[in-house]
């Protein structure tokens, strides 16, 4: 259900685990490494995590989703380590009886993950590097 790994993520494997005969809707969010940030060319990203706490915070997100919406299954996989342009950093898949709550729950999951889960990314450019969002 939750995985934080240095290995490449496979959206299809993740998505296939949320299907359910009682769910009519599946929504999947995939976050990838963009080639440019604020007009600067990205060479690679480096992700690190505070693993135990990150798992706990993702568990809280999933619990909140299940309280807010009638979701059947939720899977959250996040990659850490070094990623190059185009690689997948995060996959979130949600199944629910109807589409509206699948979209809402999946969007809640990625929005909240970006606020609370202790994972950090450093963008490495050709001429320097920056911890994303660290400064105002």
């Amino acid at each position: 259900m939750i995985k934080i790994t240095e290995h490449p993520l496979n959206p299809d494997d993740i998505t296939s685990t949320v299907f359910s005969n009682e769910a009519g809707a599946v929504n999947v969010f995939i976050g990838t490494v963009r080639a440019t940030t604020q007009d600067k060319k990205v060479v690679r990203l480096e992700f690190e995590t505070y693993l135990n706490m990150a798992i706990k915070e993702i568990e809280k997100i999933i619990e909140a989703m299940k309280n807010k919406w009638p979701v059947h299954h939720v899977v959250v996989h996040h990659r850490i380590g070094t990623l190059t342009v185009g690689e997948i950093a995060v996959v979130i898949a949600v199944s629910s009886p109807h589409r509206k709550e699948a979209f809402a729950a999946c969007q809640y999951a990625i929005d909240t993950l970006k606020e609370t889960v202790p994972i950090w990314k450093k963008e490495i450019f050709e001429d320097g590097e920056v911890w994303v969002s660290a400064h105002p």
Partner: protein, 80 residues
């Protein structure tokens, strides 16, 4: 008491290590710990936010530290 603190992301760069040790008076709160950190590492003041996790949970700044917890610095997260 002396406590070991875990540092992640940009705070790891600021303290130049994955962990560091700091001496605290008995009954030090998280708020006081943060003040001490800002004095020792002025660059931490420039962060957009700095949260402290105790035993893998975000805690309020009034929480008092016993010295037996796992304490971690959580600069602005940027997963996803």
């Amino acid at each position: 008491m002396e406590v070991e603190i875990l540092a992640f992301g940009i705070t790891r760069d600021i303290v130049e290590g994955n962990t560091f040790r700091i001496s605290l008076n008995e009954g030090t709160s998280v708020a006081t710990l943060k003040e001490l950190l800002y004095q020792t590492y002025p660059r931490m003041k420039q962060l957009r936010s700095l949260r402290v996790a105790v035993n893998n949970e975000y805690v309020d700044e009034e929480v008092v530290l016993s010295g037996k917890e796992e304490i971690a610095l959580i600069p602005p997260v940027s997963g996803g």
